[in-house]
C-alpha cells in the first residue's frame, strides 16, 4: 500500500464499516438459517435474565441517581487519560528527554489514578455505593393489655380449623 494512501481516520471508517458488515452478516445468516418457534418468553425483552417490568420510559427510583452520578464522574475523568496515553511510552519523546519522560509521565498517571481511587474508596466507605434497602418498619405497640391476653382471645375466637394447624 502506498504510504499515506489511507489517513488514520479512514482506517477508523474502514473498521466501522467492517464491523457493521460483520454484525449484519451474522444477523442475516441467523435470519436465513435459524428455526422460528416464537413463544411469550422468547419475545420479551432481554434484561440480563431479570423479568422485564414496566416501561423503559417510566420513572426510575432515585437511588439510581447517586450511583449514576458517581459513575459518570469517574468515567469522564478517565477521558483525561487519553491524551496521556498518546504521549506516554513514545520512543522518540523518551529519547529526546534522556529517559526522564517515561518515569515522569508514569508517576503523574499514578498520582492521578491514585487520587481517583481514593475518591472511590471514600464513596465506598461512606456507603454511597451500597444499594440502600428500604428498612421495613416493625410497628411496635405499647399497650397496657398484656400480650398473652390477646393470644387467649385469638385462640378462643379463631375458627377451629386454624386451631388445629
Amino acid at each position: 500500500m502506498q504510504h499515506g494512501a489511507l489517513s488514520s481516520f479512514s482506517m477508523i471508517l474502514l473498521f466501522i464499516i467492517g464491523s457493521a458488515l460483520f454484525l449484519l452478516g451474522g444477523l442475516f445468516a441467523a435470519y436465513l438459517l435459524a428455526p422460528r418457534k416464537p413463544n411469550h418468553e422468547k419475545l420479551s425483552t432481554y434484561e440480563c435474565g431479570e423479568q422485564p417490568v414496566g416501561h423503559a420510559w417510566g420513572q426510575f427510583n432515585f437511588r439510581f441517581y447517586t450511583l449514576a452520578l458517581i459513575f459518570i464522574l469517574f468515567e469522564i475523568e478517565t477521558v483525561l487519560l487519553f491524551p496521556w496515553a498518546i504521549v506516554f511510552g513514545q520512543k522518540e519523546l523518551i529519547e529526546a528527554t534522556q529517559g526522564r519522560w517515561a518515569w515522569f509521565a508514569f508517576i503523574e498517571a499514578l498520582v492521578f489514578i491514585g487520587l481517583l481511587l481514593a475518591g472511590l474508596l471514600y464513596a465506598w466507605r461512606r456507603g454511597f455505593l451500597d444499594w440502600a434497602r428500604p428498612r421495613p418498619k416493625v410497628p411496635s405497640v405499647h399497650s397496657p393489655v398484656p400480650h398473652a391476653l390477646y393470644e387467649n382471645v385469638n385462640r378462643r375466637y379463631s375458627p377451629p380449623s386454624k386451631q388445629k394447624a
Binding site: 432515585f62 441517581y65 447517586t66 452520578l69 459518570i72 464522574l73 469522564i76 475523568e77 477521558v79 483525561l80 487519553f82 491524551p83
Partner: protein
C-alpha cells in the same frame, strides 16, 4: 472556519437564552452545558488555526462540565426532596 465559529455563537446564544428565560433549574443546567460546548467548539477551531495542542482545553472543559453537572444534579435531588419542585423563581423563602 467562520461556519464553525457561527455554530459556536449560535449554541452560546441558545444557551444564554435558555438561562435567561427558563426558570427550571434543570433547564439552567442544559443552558450552561450548551454555553460550555460553544466555548469548546471555539477552542477546537482556534486550536486548528494556531496550536493543535490547545485542543486539550476542550477535554478539560468537558471534565469540569460533568463535575459541575453532578453537583447541580445532586443539589437538585436534595432540593426536590424538600420542596417537591425545582423552580428557581419559587425558591423565595429567603427574601422577605
Amino acid at each position: 472556519m467562520q461556519f464553525f465559529l457561527g455554530i459556536g455563537a449560535i449554541l452560546f446564544c441558545i444557551g444564554l437564552g435558555i438561562v435567561l428565560t427558563k426558570r427550571q433549574a434543570v433547564m439552567w443546567l442544559v443552558g450552561i452545558e450548551l454555553m460550555l460546548n460553544a466555548a469548546n467548539i471555539n477552542m477546537v477551531v482556534f486550536s486548528k488555526l494556531y496550536d493543535p495542542t490547545n485542543q486539550l482545553f476542550a477535554l478539560f472543559v468537558m471534565v469540569i462540565a460533568v463535575a459541575e453537572a453532578c453537583i447541580i444534579l445532586a443539589l437538585l435531588l436534595m432540593l426536590y426532596k424538600q420542596h417537591k419542585h425545582t423552580n428557581i423563581d419559587q425558591l423565595n423563602e429567603l427574601k422577605h
